[in-house]
């Protein structure tokens, strides 16, 4: 097992190297001059040359990459061209916002999606199954940037039940500990902060949860159906076991591996979705930081953000694979 984990972590390093190559060369080889972008069209030739030299852009690209890789290995991913903070510091500040959003969306999607899939799977072909599956198909087909706007229109602007953007109301902030407003509010132990942070999180989380929820429900249903026909389920029923126990202990438990896989794979979708969700709800998360950095060609932050996201993505996939051992004793033994 240890050897397996070490092997997978080795793969993670390889993937990160690959990601760094792709991002670095995409940002450097393709058209567009960073120096012109930073100094503006009116900059003199001398100013441009000087800045290029200062940023190391006058070196061959391969040399630039080698420098970057060496520094990155030491944990230095450069300095943001906009904020003057280290690129990693900017990424690290924005990450908790995205993490809170993604985790709350994943929690919502799992807590609602799995029961919907179980209910639909145990009533396959019935009216309720058809209604639920039609609803999930609508969910999968929903462009979330549109859904977000519609929810804002209805619950924010129309009914006035929820705020229309931001992490917290202006002038109300919990002391920063984790960077996740709900957790920080809990740590501060103030009911008004907790309520405000949850109210601000509700619409973005619901928006981001829609597609994963629909996907989890659909996979749960199809795996429930596939498992329900197996011999051990028939035996359990023949022994007179209650239907509830058969569903929970014998069908759902055995259908869990593909369900957990899908839940884990949603992370990529959530990070992609976070870019749009954070834009709509004006949240200062990693997705928004990446878009702003790309638009302003702040390539140290783009590189740091891309490496960070790819690393998180691969690590989560590893955790999903390791969780199989917990769910299935046969995998644990092998």
């Amino acid at each position: 097992m240890t050897r397996y984990v070490i092997g997978r972590l080795g793969q993670l390093v390889l993937v990160l190297i690959g990601v760094s190559v792709i991002v670095f060369f995409t940002m450097h080889v393709l058209p567009g001059d960073v120096a012109t972008l930073l100094l503006g069209e009116r900059a003199t030739a001398e100013q441009l040359v000087s800045l290029r030299h200062q940023l190391g852009l006058d070196q061959p690209v391969v040399v630039q990459y080698a420098d970057f890789a060496l520094e990155a290995a030491r944990g230095d991913l450069g300095t943001s061209l906009r904020s003057n903070h280290t690129a990693l510091a900017d990424v690290w500040t924005a990450f908790p916002v995205t993490l809170q959003l993604a985790l709350s969306a994943l929690l919502l999607a799992t807590l609602i999606g799995v029961p919907i899939g179980v209910v639909a799977g145990t009533r396959a072909g019935g009216m309720l199954d058809n209604v639920l599956m039609t609803a999930t198909l609508f969910g999968v087909s929903m462009p979330i940037f549109w859904l977000g706007l519609m929810l804002l229109l209805l619950f924010g602007a129309g009914l006035g039940w929820l705020p229309i953007g931001g992490l917290m109301p202006v002038g109300l902030d919990a002391p920063r500990v984790t960077g996740m407003t709900v957790i920080d509010s809990l740590i501060a132990g103030r009911a008004d902060l907790i309520a405000a942070s949850l109210r601000h999180l509700t619409l973005p989380a619901v928006t981001l949860a829609t597609i994963p929820l629909a996907m989890i429900a659909r996979v749960t249903r199809s795996e429930m159906l596939a498992t329900a026909t197996l011999d051990h389920v028939r035996t359990a029923r023949a022994k007179g076991m209650t239907e509830r126990r058969v569903i929970l202990r014998h069908i759902l438990r055995n259908a869990l591996i593909p369900i957990v896989t899908v839940i884990g794979l949603q992370l990529g979708l959530l990070l992609s979705g976070a870019v749009l969700t954070e834009t709509i709800f004006s949240l200062p998360g990693l997705g928004r930081l990446m878009v702003d950095s790309i638009l302003s060609r702040d390539y140290p932050v783009v590189q740091a953000g891309a490496l960070f996201i790819a690393g998180v993505f691969v690590l989560v996939n590893l955790l999903v694979d390791l969780s199989y051992g917990l769910l299935d004793p046969r995998i644990r033994r092998s």
């Binding site: 393709l30 058209p31 929903m142 596939a226 749009l276 790309i294 891309a306 996201i309």
Partner: protein, 289 residues
């Protein structure tokens, strides 16, 4: 894998398959939606009551009415006409981006699966690296490097979706490269390229079609997403994502600007998903059973 098993792994195309797929209500609805949007793509100039670029400041931000069925935007442009013309951009994105992904992915998958060894290892590691990025993020990076615009956003989406096809085709090649008909072709002296293009590729058409249909909906959403972020089609182009971005600025006062383009995206994606689901369920023996 034995030759018999290999052949069993290949989906068999039977005459009348398409008719059987379309017997399902969901497939019929999906096909109907897709066909309607295809027709609108062609007939947009005939159906649209106004030129999508015509500004009429006296109608700026006017609500949906008999004159402007979907209202008018901040410049008084007719939203119905703009949404109609947006169909063209959306379906063009499907053809270009999905087509590019299909061609690049099939080529990479065929080469990796057929040559195996180091070629396979290099191509598949590259595929792994690309898959380590969330889709939209990689598309953002590529489009940022190429420069904002509809063509570049379609190229970016095409590249992002390439690994899916590469993996699919590589799997197909591995499944059938030892099949009798491939061995027979090799014995007859057929070149590797001929075997790939004349024997392996045609036998993988079904799963490719299923994937292309399922991806089409995602391509529409991702292209619109890039435009929404300001990296795809640029104003005043009547692109659904760009229209939505316009609508975001006015959503408190003019709900219709964001509502109708989003509804159009939703319907097209729903159509492709219904059709793709039906294809997948029909051709996947595990699901069919």
């Amino acid at each position: 894998m034995s030759a018999a098993e290999a052949q069993a792994a290949v989906p068999v195309r039977k005459p009348g398959d398409l008719r059987r797929v379309l017997r399902r209500v969901s497939a019929k609805v999906g096909l109907l939606i897709t066909v309607i949007f295809l027709l609108l793509t062609v007939a947009a100039p005939l159906v649209a009551p106004y030129d999508p670029y015509d500004q009429d400041l006296s109608s700026a931000l006017s609500e949906p009415s008999a004159q402007h069925w979907m209202g008018a935007d901040q410049y008084g442009r007719d939203m119905f006409s703009r949404v109609l013309y947006g169909t063209r951009t959306a379906l063009l994105a499907v053809v270009v981006a999905d087509g590019l992904a299909l061609v690049l992915g099939c080529a990479a998958g065929l080469v990796a699966g057929f040559f195996g060894g180091r070629t396979d290892a290099v191509i598949m590691r590259l595929v792994d690296v690309v898959l380590a990025f969330p889709y939209l993020l990689l598309a953002l990076i590529i489009v940022a490097a190429l420069g904002p615009g509809l063509t570049n956003s379609m190229i970016a989406i095409g590249i992002v979706y390439t690994p899916q096809y590469a993996r699919l085709i590589r799997g197909q090649v591995l499944a059938i490269r030892h099949a009798d008909f491939v061995r027979a072709a090799r014995a007859l002296g057929a070149s590797r390229v001929r075997i790939m293009l004349r024997h392996v590729l045609p036998n993988s058409i079904t799963p490719i079609l299923v994937m292309a249909t399922l991806q089409a909906g995602s391509v529409v959403v991702e292209t619109a997403g890039l435009s929404f972020l300001g990296l795809g089609a640029q104003p005043p182009s009547p692109d659904w994502g760009a229209l939505l971005a316009d609508g975001q600025s006015y959503f408190l006062t003019a709900w219709w600007i964001a509502t109708f383009p989003g509804l159009a995206i939703f319907l097209v994606v729903l159509g492709f998903n219904l059709l793709g689901d039906a294809f997948r369920d029909h051709f996947d023996p595990r699901r069919a059973s």
